[in-house]
Every structure is written in structure tokens, then in C-alpha cells.
Symmetry: C2
Subunit: 390 residues, 2 copies
């Protein structure tokens, strides 16, 4: 393996921010207490959680009491869908997009098996949700709509504010899995007008094992994890104190989010332009207009994404593919298939997602290596086909 | 506050083990990858989880595939109780002890509200479960029995092996919340013969936000958190990689567990003897025979536990009381009340739980300070009563 490692898979997870790392090393000793204890050890831990909650509430323009710390966005998503299904008996229909994260899609399947009617909004090849379909299935029977803020695969953004208004007109609740937006675009929950939103610390340069559930004060809330009186009895279990601390530290970086997004967008656009110019038969997946500034999703014809990923990996470049087991799953990305890509196209997909620590040099090196790798793989493929024909 | 801080509340949470701390500082950079990614960053994280799972399986004498990483024991407890209630339709009765952790008691209340019949085994003042009651309520209708391995408050141990056999005779499943046993006594799950067991990393000198659910291979298993294919699709959500790593490191300390337990038992017995000798009208709560080696639970007559705790806290000693909001809850400990202690007794309770970093000097200092604090508080109380009478 090349000694130089270039990480270009920030939609999967992010490295720790240097500030987070320094802070962690400093606090490893002093904040081990149980926040529920009233002695010195507990108070230190409790203060740390209070500060983090305050920082996050300012980042999202909401009240600290509207934020519940969870183990991650998957738990947040499960909490909203499972508890509303259990408790809202008058409304039994649910709506999500066809390209949600598995923690939404599979939880929807779960409540479907228990009797809920679930509508899935189709998405076009250009990454647009079918809003006419959405309007048609929305009704007085709709309990909850769950649509992500931005798609993890393509980076495409969805019109959450408008969709939440449409849901509210029918008296339905609205949840957004906002994981991919955090740290990449401004996420103002008050302005978005949603009832619930899910976030994950580890996609925002903080520790794994910590997430957030926003519950608007006036919206129904039910516990999913029963236990101690933590989080005002809304989520039991000793808090992941250090995870929460790192999450809170990142929440103060509003300025960095804006600056880095502008920088990464330029870098991403440069990368896209070069790749499309230098590698024939390559195209962007979804809309290239309305998307996260850091994400580039491509289909490269005649290439097996997994083989390409492994070739790049040997050279030290970490990227992702919607092709295969990049999420431990041997099937092609359900997102790309739902967008109408063929299995062959999905097999040839490549996702590059940039982060705050990436440099222009790294991206230029990556472009060179990608061009070489694709040429090599296409050549092998051609040779193989020749051999086969002879 | 005294500059010297002495932590004596290890049943609430433990400080990080020095080895864990060093390892964390070393690994902060190298293991940030998403274990589901197939590139170098993902593989490093995945290997780390595999090693931790292997270590833990050896500690518990089970197969690595029988272990599911969760966000903590509260999630593990919720998972077992909630999913079995949802999926086992032929059996609708549940049994737990009256002194379980809130994550069991409240989850039982939750399924009770959904139609389950829940039996709670009473416990005597001496900390003995009423096994005759247990035998009488066990039946072919029992889905699950959930009884903790050791009580957090008194440290009393329960006859889990025998109780699991009794459950199995009726075809019922058996779960144990084994949180308080881990790191203090040998926990051999194969020998205990339970179907499910819950553990928490942060009560074992590792990070908060990481727990474990043991599911015996042949016992029914259903996901609680739906999402990605993590944990063989049994628990969705990106793994808390560093939490799991620290948990796995601690799992290798079988020898230290034995040695420290012997050392702490002597220290605890010395402390108990001195306190009972030097402070009149003081007694041990529950059984002083069959209990965790590190735990001492006392009732000190005529003392308000919370006031005592705060007095000790000012001197730098962190202890716990079953009196009040030591768990964010203004009510006296339900455990002590269930054991038949009066509210006044529960208000005067004190729990000292020792850990691997405690020294004999610390304990002797604590005994001295406790004696002085109790004398002072009892004197104030007497003076106050005199004033009141005049």
C-alpha cells in the first residue's frame, strides 16, 4: 500500500477534527463521572452535556430542551417512526422517499409488517422527488412523513421546508433525517419547520456512538429506550459523555462550516470537470445543481465499481461505491436502483465525498490516479473480451 | 473543595483504565473509518471490532457470533424485552424481580401497558428473592424472565443459574442484566445457562456509549434498531468503534478481575468493620454474605443521605445514596423501598462502591471523614431539635 493515505469518503464517516482530538485527550481523565451522580465527578460530566446541548441548540436555532441525545441517527430515526406508530392510533399511514437511509426504509418495512400503510415517494434519474405523488398520497390519515434533507449517495437536496408545510396542511407530522446536511450546509431547524430531525456526530468530525434527535416542543414525543431519568425521561441510558462533548465542540464551528463548504464546492467542481473531461463515458448521478457541496457521484461505463475501489485503495485513496458491499451489503445501492439506474450502471458507480482536511494536491493526485485506474481496467476488460472471442 | 479527589462510586460508573486511556490516545487517529467501508479506513475499524468481539467472547466463554454490540446495557435490556413481547405471541407473561434496574422495570411497565402480564418477584430485607413466588408464577404462559446478576445498590447476588433452569423447565426464556457483575466476579455465560445477558462498557473501566447483548445462538433474536447490515443485521447503526475497542481491551483482564476482586473484598470488609464499630446505629443493607466484593450499602440512622453525600463531596469523596436524586430522580431508591426499608431508612442510606484504582490510604481517609461527618450532622440535628423544643 502507498504510504500516503487520502480519505475521500466523508459521507460514510469523518476523521476527528484536530480540536476535537486535543480536547478528548485533555478530558479523558476529568469527565468520566456519571452525569446522574450529584458529586463532583457527576457534576463535571453533567456540565459538559449541558454546554454541548447549548451549542447544538444555537447551531440549529432551536431550544436546548428540544434536543435529545441518542446513540446515533439510526436510533433517532427508529425512535420517531417506531414510537409514533405505537402511539398514534388515529392515523395509520406513513410516507417516506424511496431513497432514504436503511434506518428509515427498514423501520418503515417493520411498521408495515405490523399494519401500517407506507407510501414511498418515487425519485427521478435526476434526483427529483415526485411531489405530485406526494401530494396525492398525503391525507388526513397520514401520521408521519420522513424525508431526508440530503441524499448520502448523490448529495441531492430535497425541498424539506415545502414538504413539511404540505404535511402540516393535512395535520401530519414531518421528520427529516438531516445527517448528510450537518457540517455541509446551514441547517436551521426553526426555518425548516420540521417536527423531528436526526443527526449523527460521526459524520461531523466528532466521535462515533453519539447522535441527536430534535423534537419540536409542541410535537408528540414518546420514549423508545426506557430506563433512567436521563434526557428528562425521554431517553434512558447513561449518556455517551465524551461523544456528546465532541459533538458540542463541533457545533460551535458555524463559520468553518460556511468557509469549508465554499472551498470544498470549488474543489468538487474542479474534480468533476476534470474527471468528465479526462474519462470518456462518465456522467454525474442525480442532479448536479441542487446538491451538497462536497459530494460527487458518478457512473463510469464499463467499470466494476468494487474493482475500481480496490485499485484506488491500493494506492491509498478511500472512496465509496454504490456497487456492492461498501455497506456490508452484497446488493447494488438501493438508492441508485430506485433512481432508475440499471444494475450495470449501479455496479459502475463511484462516490467521492470531500472533507475539511482534504487539500487541492490530494484531489489532483486522485484525479490522476482515477484516470490511470479506469484506463487500466477498461484495457484489461477489452483484452479479456478479445481473448474470450478468440 | 479538597484538592484530593477520591472516587468511591464505581457501581455508577468507572474511570478509564490507564491502559484504555493510552490506547485511546494512540488510536484516535487511526481508527476513524466506518467499519462498513471496504477501503483501508474501514478495514482498520472493522478489525478492531473483530478483535474486541473475540476478547469478549473468551471472557464470557461464548461464541463471538453470540455477541451484539449496542449503545449500552439500557439498550440491551430494552431490546430483549421489547422485541420478545412484539414477536412471541403464544406466551404473554413476563417475570422480573422487584429490584431491577429502571431499564428493565420501566420497559416491563411499558409492555404491561400494551397488554403483557408482568409478575414482580418480591425481595426480602436480607436481599433474598422469593423463589417460592417465582416457582408459582412461572408457567407455560411465561415468555421471559429477567433477573439481574447482582444488584447495583446492595451488591447482592442472585441465583441466576438455578432460576434460568427453573424458567427453562417451563419453556420460558431467561435474561440477566449482568452489568454489575462484570469486572467484579467471574461471569461465565455458558455456565449460567441464560438465553440473554446485558453488559455495559462504562462500568468496566471503558468508554461510555458502548454495551453488549449476549444472545444464545439457539434462542430467538429480533432486531430492535433497524438500519444497516451491522452486527449481521441484528442491530443497525454505525458502531461506536472506540467504545468497542476499549471494551475489548478490558475483556483481556481476566487475571486482574480475580486479583482486584480479592483485594477490594478485603478493603471493603475492613471498611465495613470499621464503620460499624465507629458509627453507632449503622447497619448493612441486604445480605452481607452473598454480594459483590466491592460494594458496601449502609443505613445510618438519623442522617439524611443527601446531606451526608454533599458533606463528603466537599471533602472530595464521591459516594452514592439511595436517598434521592443520585439518579436524577427525587424519590428514594425503589430498590431499598422494595426491600422493605422505610422511607426514613432509605433517606439515610449510603453506598460505597470500590474500584481498581482505590488504595488502602484512600479508604482509611474516607472512614475518618465519614465518622466526623456523621458526628457533625447528628450533632446539628440534636442542637436543632433542642432549639425547637425551647
Amino acid at each position: 500500500m502507498n504510504s500516503r493515505l487520502v480519505y475521500l469518503d466523508h459521507n460514510a464517516t469523518t476523521p476527528l477534527h484536530p480540536l476535537v482530538k486535543n480536547s478528548l485527550i485533555q478530558e479523558l481523565d476529568s469527565h468520566f463521572g456519571n452525569p446522574s451522580s450529584i458529586h463532583w465527578a457527576g457534576r463535571k460530566a453533567k456540565n459538559l452535556i449541558r454546554n454541548a446541548r447549548q451549542n447544538l441548540s444555537e447551531l440549529f436555532s432551536v431550544s436546548p430542551l428540544e434536543l435529545i441525545f441518542t446513540s446515533g441517527a439510526s436510533e433517532s430515526n427508529n425512535t420517531v417512526i417506531q414510537t409514533l406508530f405505537l402511539n398514534l392510533k388515529n392515523r395509520t399511514e406513513y410516507i417516506c422517499s424511496a431513497i432514504e437511509h436503511p434506518s428509515v426504509l427498514k423501520t418503515m418495512q417493520h411498521i408495515e409488517s405490523l399494519g401500517a400503510l407506507v407510501h414511498r415517494i418515487p425519485v427521478s434519474r435526476e434526483g427529483q422527488l415526485d411531489l405530485e405523488f406526494y401530494q396525492n398520497v398525503l391525507s388526513e390519515k397520514t401520521a408521519l412523513v420522513s424525508v431526508m434533507l440530503a441524499n448520502n449517495e448523490t448529495g441531492n437536496l430535497f425541498p424539506i421546508k415545502r414538504m413539511a408545510e404540505m404535511a402540516h396542511e393535512k395535520g401530519a407530522l414531518f421528520h427529516t433525517d438531516a445527517v448528510q446536511g450537518l457540517g455541509k450546509i446551514d441547517v436551521n431547524l426553526k426555518d425548516l419547520g420540521v417536527d423531528y430531525a436526526s443527526f449523527s456526530a460521526h459524520k461531523f468530525y466528532a466521535l462515533k456512538g453519539s447522535g441527536l434527535l430534535y423534537c419540536k416542543k409542541s410535537s408528540p414525543q414518546f420514549p423508545f429506550l426506557f430506563g433512567g431519568a436521563q434526557e428528562r425521561s425521554r431517553r434512558g441510558g447513561t449518556e455517551n459523555v465524551l461523544g456528546i462533548m465532541t459533538f458540542g465542540l463541533m457545533a460551535k464551528m458555524k463559520k468553518e462550516i460556511t468557509e469549508e463548504s465554499l472551498r470544498l464546492e470549488k474543489l468538487r467542481d474542479h474534480m468533476q470537470q476534470q474527471i468528465l473531461k479526462l474519462i470518456p463515458n462518465t456522467r454525474v448521478t442525480g442532479s448536479s445543481k441542487n446538491r451538497l457541496p462536497n459530494t460527487l457521484s458518478l457512473v463510469i461505463d464499463g467499470i466494476d465499481g468494487e474493482t475500481l475501489l480496490m485499485n484506488l485503495d491500493i494506492k491509498g485513496f478511500a472512496v465509496s461505491t454504490g456497487a456492492a458491499c461498501s455497506s456490508g451489503n452484497p446488493e447494488p445501492s438501493p438508492v441508485l436502483l430506485a433512481m432508475g439506474l440499471s444494475r450495470a450502471e449501479a455496479q459502475g458507480s463511484l462516490r467521492v465525498s470531500l472533507g475539511w482536511q482534504n487539500t487541492e494536491d490530494e484531489i489532483n493526485d486522485f484525479i490522476k490516479e482515477l484516470v490511470l485506474s479506469v484506463q487500466r481496467l477498461r484495457l484489461i476488460d477489452t483484452e479479456f473480451q478479445k481473448d474470450f472471442e478468440l
